[in-house]
């Protein structure tokens, strides 16, 4: 009967209840959608960054990440290869070596990052091959060949087939000098990369820079983002017995800027949600306060019948919980439906192209519906609404029977 009473009381002022429910529905929908959107964007950002360049995990010499000293090497890639080929959760891997050098065309010189890549393994880890806009990717057997970023190639005024003079310093301090032919020009969408990088075959790099078989990093792609921590641990475990001078870094450590960007976005999102929820919570509290005030005499009658304050409070909380639950359930379903639609069809945010480019993101973005985004969205609204209903209910608890009865 308490339940029946609560239910009927909810519909006593249908318009008011519907407005309140609508506010809750709206807040829940928005939260579910926005959270899914954010999580989806993060996944896309991480995925793009990881696949363009860093991979999920890298094995490097201790300290190489902070100080790119060409003498800090992974001395024996074969040993690493033996570990990685049989490791569960590893999807693919490759080796790279890097050094800063000068490249010149006929009349221009730029400082660039020269990266030695394995033409066969690299495509399994990064999207570099797909980003070749002109010419071709490197092939096995290529020697004095290079891939250049589009901006760099423009700056150097060198088309595919053009020659570049490279001047650098080898691992042992000797001079590394050669002439390279541009075989392909890539565009990653990230200007920073396209302006400052050239890729050459790893074997040739090792020869040119006197690497004596060493590389600078093993780049690992895992089966999924969620598998990364476990794989990282497994690699570290396998390495610990072999070579203590090596470090295992995950994508967060490899891309501190990206992690920071995500954190900042989460915080600003959180502030926005908080404001939204506070507005909704106040409107709900207002509704409940109104409902309580206009029913004071009725509460007086109930108290005269011997209904204790605790029970009265229970009734009121049941009413507010009822309204909240209706709103949250509808809001969650509607929010999930809307999110689902955009998850399938994607969505172009006007004006966000610039940001998208900066992170190498596609223009059409997809929200990612997940248990987390639904549970967090619905949970926040549920908790805050119930909390905002507590205040009016507690006011009733302090009501004296005679005062309540004399209310009109």
């Amino acid at each position: 009967m308490n339940f029946i009473m609560a239910w009927r009381n909810i519909w006593r002022h249908p318009r008011r209840s519907i407005l309140t429910i609508a506010a809750i529905v709206f807040a829940t929908m928005l939260l579910v959608f926005m959270l899914s959107w954010q999580f989806g964007a993060y996944d896309t950002m991480i995925d793009a960054t990881v696949k363009i360049h860093t991979g999920h995990i890298q094995i490097q010499a201790q300290g190489y990440q902070d100080q790119r000293d060409m003498r800090k090497v992974v001395p024996d890639p074969n040993e690493i290869e033996r570990i990685l080929t049989s490791l569960r959760g590893v999807k693919s891997y490759t080796f790279r070596a890097e050094d800063f050098s000068l490249v010149s065309s006929e009349n221009r010189t730029y400082g660039v990052l020269v990266i030695g890549i394995d033409p066969q393994k690299e495509p399994s880890v990064s999207t570099l091959e797909d980003m070749i806009r002109r010419g071709r990717f490197l092939e096995a057997g290529d020697r004095r060949s290079a891939l250049a970023g589009e901006i760099l190639a423009d700056n150097l005024n060198s088309p595919v087939g053009g020659d570049l003079v490279l001047l650098g310093q080898g691992r042992d301090g000797s001079i590394a000098a050669t002439v390279l032919t541009i075989k392909g020009i890539f565009n990653t969408g990230q200007d920073e990369f396209d302006r400052t990088m050239i890729h050459i075959p790893l074997e040739y790099f090792q020869e040119l820079y006197n690497m004596r078989g060493a590389v600078h990093m093993a780049v690992v792609l895992c089966d999924s983002l969620t598998a990364v921590p476990a794989v990282k641990e497994r690699i570290a475990g396998a390495l610990s017995g072999i070579d203590s001078s090596l470090a295992v870094l995950d994508w967060k450590e490899l891309n501190p800027g990206l992690v920071q960007a995500i954190q900042m976005d989460l915080v600003s999102g959180f502030i926005f949600y908080l404001i939204l929820i506070i507005v909704v919570a106040f409107s709900i509290m207002n509704t409940f306060l109104m409902a309580v005030f206009e029913r004071t005499r009725e509460f007086g009658v109930m108290m005269s019948m011997g209904m204790g304050p605790g029970r009265l409070m229970g009734l009121l909380l049941m009413e507010s919980l009822g309204i909240t639950l209706i709103g949250v359930v509808i809001g969650t379903i509607a929010g999930a439906a809307v999110t689902w639609y955009f998850q399938i069809h994607g969505m172009v945010i006007p004006g966000a192209e610039e940001v998208a480019r900066q992170f190498g993101l596609p223009e059409r973005m997809f929200p990612q519906l997940s248990f987390l985004s639904i549970a967090v969205g619905a949970g926040i609204v549920l908790i805050l609404t119930v909390l905002s209903a507590l205040y009016p209910a507690f006011k009733v608890k302090g009501l004296k029977p005679v005062e309540a009865l004399s209310a009109v």
Binding site: R12, M305, G306
Partner: protein
Amino acid sequence: MTIVECRNVKKIYRQGEVSVTALDGVDLSIVKGDFMALAGPSGSGKTTLLNMIGGLDSPDGGSILLNGQALEKMKPSQLADMRLHQVGFVFQSYNLIPVLSAVENVEFVMLLQGMPLQERRRKALAILDDVGLAGKYGRRPAELSGGQQQRVAVARAIVGAPAIVLADEPTANLDSASGKDLLKLMQEMNESKKVTFIFSTHDKMVMEYARRLTLIRDGRIVEDRRK
């Protein structure tokens, strides 16, 4: 058997500088089976006294015993429990819970008392028959006339088998025919079910129905006689 014993009960309302003595040393004892009118002009302290006896308010002086228990010593939760089992109230108007039907309003008391569903439904229907509302069980208060609403209120007040029913000007909002009907009903319940009633009034006609007439003026009992 004495059900209510008031000894030198005082109540003073203070509103800033002004203080109003609503009850000025009331001595009163009510015995089982009384059918008593508490009569007096408006502002004489009738509502205040009934609220004290029913444990809705507490006196500033003196003592009230209900079934031998001193109300002024009870905590609010104990008072609520005491009202639930020992007291039935009928007010002048708006007695009923608007979202509940007649039968549900009557049942509600028994629900609070913890009676099982079957039993309370049966009792509620029976008592509604007794007060002449057979066939109107499912009506909401808004669908009942003023007289019918007061009948439901009486049914609700007596259904929990309280020691006493306190009715504060129960007929004041009714036309005289409905008022008489309600008084007859209360009289009948008093006789057949031995329910003890106190009802306040300032209406001569209503006083005539009482078997005991207690007059109150300026917070004092000035006359108390049985017919």
